[in-house]
Symmetry: C2
Subunit: 152 residues, 2 copies
DNA sequence: AAGGATTAAATCGTGTGCGATTTAAATGTA
DNA sequence: TACATTTAAATCGCACACGATTTAATCCTT
């Protein structure tokens, strides 16, 4: 038996390279985010707030595919860093609204530099701009399909 | 100011959809892996052992882009489930060799069914087979570039 | 052969992820 | 209006990830 079960080979998987690439890209972000004193998931939460302003925990979760069990502690950490405020809604006491503090809003100015630096550090001729764009397109399509599958 | 800093939009990021898609695909695997009594990272370790046989912790880490701080506790859990053995090498006492137990080898027969089931559950006409293949190709290229960048 | 440098695992602490459950508020319906 | 149902956060426990450090063994150079 030369090579049984090639369907189980790492290089034939889709999930494994997604998993590995996700972790490695996070690693690329880390030194830049350390300068802002935040982690990658915390950065994602701030991205949603910078882009969409005040939001409930639920709403942030929908955008990032996360739930309160992950977000609540993470948001408390952002609150302790004085970047956000957590305020229980008066009209519906079940929901907690998240708003940026002044410091949270100001952090955006520093964050704007990050994507540029990341892209610069990626001047690698192995992958063309076009290839990345069509890759990104499929990635978002995949994300959509996965989201539907998971919530079935 | 209509729409400041579009470079910070979630939909313009590459890392975010990777992060989300990775987590969602893991979620798709979970119910299948639960039947085998293992987690997704544990499944990946078993994949390397099924494919490449006996290996050191280091070697498994190279293939999965993980280090001993993650692998050691994970491997101890696999050992407790009686799926692998951890044996310190006689020729180089620094390295720990990981081998499959009989139960670990036999689990492969069950695992072979998983990729089929996943693919089946993905019969979604939004993404063609070709698109997935070229996506996978770019993904592995990206993984390569990232790995180089990270280890710089 | 001695001693510093390197290497492989392990350990430690912090921060996610997430399934499952709990708590409390709002909603729907008889 | 009562009361079951639904919903939003929070809580709990477990398993990763990973930076930083420690421990022990091997290698390298003189």
């Amino acid at each position: 038996m030369a090579n049984p079960a090639p369907e189980l080979y790492l290089e034939n998987q889709l999930c494994f390279p997604l998993y590995a690439a996700s972790r490695l890209t996070t690693k690329i972000y880390t030194p830049f985010l350390e300068e802002l004193g935040i982690t990658y998931p915390q950065y994602l939460v701030l991205l949603t707030l910078w882009q969409f302003q005040e939001q409930s925990v639920k709403s942030i979760g929908k955008r990032l595919f996360l739930e309160s069990n992950t977000l609540t502690p993470l948001l408390k950490r952002l609150e302790q860093k004085n970047l956000i405020q957590r305020i229980r809604s008066k009209t519906d006491e079940r929901t907690v609204m998240i708003t940026l503090t002044q410091a949270g809003m100001e952090l955006k100015e520093k964050a704007v530099e990050i994507p540029k630096k990341i892209v610069e550090s990626f001047h690698d001729k192995i992958i063309s701009e076009d290839e990345i764009l069509s890759f990104q397109k499929t990635l978002f399509k995949l994300l959509n399909v996965l989201d539907k599958k998971v919530s079935e």
